[in-house]
Amino acid sequence: MDLLRFITAGSVDDGKSTLIGRLLYDSKSIWEDQLEAIERQSKRRDNGVPDLALLTDGLRAEREQGITIDVAYRYFNTVRRKFIIADAPGHIQYTRNMVTGASNADLIVILIDARHGVAEQTRRHSIIASLLKLPHVIVAVNKMDLVGYAQDVFDGIVTAYSGLARELQLPPVTYLPISALQGDNIVKRSAHMSWYEGPSLLELLEEVSLAGISEALPARFPVQYVIRPQTETLHDYRGYAGQISSGTFSVGDHVTILPSGATTRIARIESGAQQLQTACAPQSVVLHVEGEFDISRGDLIVPSGALPTLQQELSSLICWMDVKPLLKGNRYLLQYNTFRTPVVIKALEYRLDVNSLDRETTPDRIELNEVVRARIKTAMPLAFDRYTGNHAHGAAILIDESSNATVGALMLETEAV
């Protein structure tokens, strides 16, 4: 049994909450007392099924106003997998919330209303999925019951979306027709659409392959915490604790410590009280290296044969998440894995319209929920990978040092200078 994290994208009107409620309900992940609670609140009832959307509305303000404030996380499992759903709201602050929810997702389910086809917001959801390079995309055409379960409606949407997927260079997309309200093709295959021969949504989610995405990449180990007991029996113990971001480390590997550039070999790998020969992402381990070095939190241990870029000026896509605008010349704190360094925004190169992909060059300010490509300079050299090649090791955040708020999500890029 392994773990799949996914995000659902769609507005309230697309039936997103109903879809999530249906997955939880049909996989028997809803407890009876929770069902009774929503049945008490449920004003409308469709054919004996309670209003499943109510299952995902968490806070009082949301229930009162019928809105969703923030990303919520839902859990269910089958015998094959544990699933974590990031449930991001469909309207206000959409970009900020969707980027947040998608940042840890392996897969996105994009909901399209069968009556409306590929809409402007479908485009926006897909553009964000392409910016974050989500490895798996499922397009679920919902409300098929409202179009008479007609195959030509579904086929038309598949054709229209295929063009968008090509334009955005999305990974191969899987399409399926569903009705979240009626339960068609959610857990069980639908009896209403014999023309569709593929798996149900849950079957798809169970079968998606997660193997080898991150293990095949160059190995990266950001040092998180140094364990030095300094007791008599463990006088010389000095272990570098952290989580492997990508790739695999083995005892004996030749490694380089960045930013110092010192080279050595892996002497031991520990996990709990166990000694390992090999460890791979995303394991949390303790590495020991041969010889004595001054290694501390924020340093990076990498194979000597696969070094990342080390530079102080770089370009990055930034999704802006603060009400105070982003301006050229502003200073922030960059948090990149376990490393923090002051940065200054050298230039705003272009604003990327997440509805159209249009680029507006050299904008003078960037507002909340906008995406910009910016040039930044770091106070100390940064050893990093491009986000497009290595998600786990190419992402960073910006922190406003006066408010301490997290204000920007960065997908790092290098560029020939």
Binding site: D2, R60, P282
Partner: protein, 299 residues
């Protein structure tokens, strides 16, 4: 190589614990002797051994705890050689002249928050690690892993920081502190399966035992000096276990024959009622009971 999901959850929790130790000056691990905080201690040992834990274990003792859980707490702290700090709600009631709970199941749930906040300021803790899970309750589903609180411990759901990738921002202003939830992404069943896999010891009350109980609104409440018995109460001796361990006044037992964790997992797989719904009297007050308590500084 597909990894077992418990390995993934364990690795994430260890990462969060190490982030907490690295980013804060004075963290603490809130330890009650319940299964979730026992799981946290086990994860902390994996994160920091052979070194010492970089934080003390802290318990806010309401005075209504199960004696078995308290004895377990003390034994574990001694066995590990780690520091245990205990602060008593009773002392807060005396020193601040607070009104104790009244009624049949007099709860010290709200009073507990006073003692917790006093303890946070007494030791200047800037981060408190807790065993809360997002599957427990609807308000918890929206809480961050690093959850910033003001000096009144208040949670403001509208002003949470976005939490992206595995980048946790623990920067705070003086007077603020952060509640850290390393097992946010675990469900009740995940915790039980992990306890089983890792062969982690638990207080005896988690397993089936004989106990005098009364039945109240179809829940089984242990007879103890902390609840008021009325003439209409029928005391019966039943075979029960606890699914969660909170105060004796607000935690209900469930009928059970489970002698091992495997038996418990089997029973949970068959039950159709949530952990809090089956065993917590305090969540039943209103639809938003948990949300309100969190906004006022509760975990």
């Amino acid at each position: 190589m597909p990894r077992d999901y418990l390995d993934t959850l364990e690795s994430e929790a260890i990462y969060i614990l190490r982030e907490t130790a690295a980013q804060f000056e004075r963290p603490a691990l809130l330890f009650s002797g319940g299964k979730d905080s026992i799981t946290l201690v086990h994860l902390a040992l994996k994160a920091f051994r052979p070194g010492r834990l970089p934080f003390p274990l802290v318990h806010i003792d309401t005075g209504h705890n199960f004696p078995e859980a308290l004895a377990f707490r003390d034994r574990l702290a001694v066995a590990l050689g780690e520091q245990l700090i205990v602060r008593y709600v009773e002392d807060t009631i005396q020193s601040k002249n607070l009104q104790d709970g009244t009624g049949k199941f007099a709860s010290r749930n709200a009073l507990q928050t006073h003692t917790l906040l006093d303890t946070v300021s007494e030791f200047a803790f800037d981060a408190c690690i807790g065993g809360a899970r997002r599957d427990e309750e609807k308000a918890r589903a929206k809480e961050r892993i690093f959850s910033v609180r003001d000096e009144f411990g208040q949670w403001n759901p509208k002003l949470q920081r976005p939490e992206l990738w595995q980048l946790y921002n623990g920067r705070i202003h003086k007077g603020e502190n952060v509640r850290v939830f390393p097992i946010s992404n675990w469900t009740e069943l995940d915790v039980w399966r992990y306890l089983e896999r890792e062969q982690i010891a638990l207080p005896s009350i988690y397993f089936a035992h004989e106990r005098d109980v009364i039945e109240y609104e179809s829940q089984l409440i242990a007879v103890s000096p902390f609840i008021r018995l009325d003439p209409s109460d029928q005391i019966t001796r039943r075979r029960v276990r606890y699914r969660t361990v909170g105060d004796m006044t607000c935690t209900a037992a469930v009928a059970s024959e489970a002698a091992t964790i495997a038996d418990i997992i089997g029973e949970i797989a068959c039950t159709r009622i949530s952990e809090r719904g089956e065993t917590r009297i305090d969540d039943r007050v209103s639809e938003a009971a948990m949300e309100d308590r969190k906004k006022n500084g509760y975990f």
